[in-house]
């Protein structure tokens, strides 16, 4: 599902953030991605949702070499990937409901087809009574949950979450981890970037550890 071979990445003329990274992730697996702040976790995730192309090396997603992708192939591929951004990236002029429903709206399905599902998902993450609110007025934890709901609403094959529990209390974090595990059981491959040691302790998923631009895997 995901295969990296000798991947290197630098921003502009800067230092190489990722160096010679090689790994592969099997479909249906569950991984934590961890490492010190500034190690390049977010950068690695950006490569995975095709916001960046590697400076060198090979990135292969869903059996396709991302270097050979044309811009018209991207939307189709991105619909298979759900992303929870570290900074949420919710749109303030839309309601929380509309933010969460955005991936479905972007596929041009009629709203009536997905409305009930989105409402149910929002209730499940505890935003049932915040649906009409703008993300601007949500608390950090509520934003986080909205961002997670948006990432999973399209039933992606690959879920990438960047610090998805950074703003919630431990019990909510546990609940959200439960959500990711539930999705994983349904077949979604999950990668969660986090510093949260407590969270990682709750699961026996393998850890991918980024340090000094190199990646190690610990089971």
């Amino acid at each position: 599902m995901i295969r990296f071979e000798n991947v290197g990445l630098r921003y502009g003329m800067g230092p190489e953030i990722l160096r010679n990274i090689s790994f592969h992730v099997a479909p249906g697996s569950f991984h934590f991605l961890t490492g010190p702040s500034g190690a390049g976790k977010t950068t690695l995730l950006r490569l995975l949702f095709m916001a960046l192309k590697p400076t060198r090396g090979l990135v292969n997603l869903f059996g396709q070499d991302v270097a050979s992708l044309s811009s018209t192939d991207l939307p189709e591929l991105r619909r298979k990937v759900g992303v929870v951004f570290q900074d949420f990236r919710l749109l303030n002029h839309l309601t929380t409901f509309e933010n969460v429903a955005l991936p479905l709206r972007a596929t041009e399905q009629p709203e009536q087809d997905y409305r009930a599902n989105v409402v149910e998902l929002l209730k499940w993450v505890g935003l049932g009574d915040r649906m009409r609110a703008s993300p601007e007025v949500l608390s950090g934890g509520e934003k986080q949950r909205a961002a997670i709901a948006r990432a999973v609403v399209g039933q992606p094959q690959l879920l990438l979450a960047d610090e998805p529990t950074g703003n919630v209390d431990p019990s909510m974090a546990k609940r959200l981890l439960g959500l990711f595990e539930e999705l994983n059981k349904l077949g979604t491959t999950v990668i969660i970037a986090t510093h949260d040691v407590e969270l990682m302790r709750l699961s026996d998923a393998p850890h991918m550890i980024l340090e000094d631009g190199h990646l190690g895997i610990e089971s």
Binding site: E76, R89, L91, E98
Partner: protein, 335 residues
Amino acid sequence: MSRKPQKPVIPPGKPKSRPKATPAPAGWLQRYFDRITHKSTPIVPVENVIGRALVLVTAIMCFLACLALGTAWAVHRASVAWTSEAASELTLQIKPVEGLNMTDEVTKAMRHLGNVNGVVRAEPISNEETRKLLEPWLGAELNFEELPVPQLITVEIDRRNPPNLQVLASDLIAIVPGARLDDHRVWQNQVRSAANWIKWTSFLVLILMLGATIAIIVFATQGAMSSNRDVVNVLHLVGARDKFIVREFERHFLVLGLKGGLAGGLLAATAFIVARYALEQIAPRSLDGEFNNLIHAVSIGWSGFAAIAGIVAFLAILTSRTSRYTVYRYLKSVE
């Protein structure tokens, strides 16, 4: 927050691979109704400074375009009305000549005109009428005995069977030495070329304005794109196609263009109605004929309103098409 998850996260009943949105025969209409009845927030934020500025500019441009076109049209109609009337009407001028009696000369000329084929009617303009015509220049105390005022005869010709005007003129000079036949051609040509000049100037102004409008829409769209960079990024990341993003922006700009166009069009229609009313009020009675032509030309009928509606529609479409093109170019550049 106390509720425990009891059921699978993803509501069941949805196939893993979503079926492609097939436009079923009744589907698109249904979807259209859904779209307008559900009224979800536009993906492109509506309220912003650029949007308001664009509405204002479009309104002004639409107003000016209507004015330019309206002016061209009014001038065209007035010049056609004037020149065609004048063409069927000649003026025979008989200047006083030493030793000849004016009344005899007029009678001779009238008799000749009566025998020419193609002349429908000939009528001397009475002293009273001449006095009225000259009053503004020479005052009311006009004495015809003292002044060598030429006598004018209006000659109406059959336009389908006109007499040879050169022959007619030379024949008349032979009979009446003071005669001069004025077929208004010089004046007519002047009116025509002035009218043409105004028409072409109006079109030039129109084209310049269209160019300016397009440039402004391009700038506004580029501004909207860069101030909505986040929106575009997020849309890309959730898998929206460029087509979808373009359509959202296009719809946004179509609405802006329509708003501005309608405001400008309404203003223009009002301006034409007011102009007509004002002309009616100031029309001097003595110039009734000419003024009626002008008033008639200025008044906009249903065709005028249709033309304004056309301009509004054209501007709205221009706005959305231009923004569409600009958005496509932007999206190409960020990929």
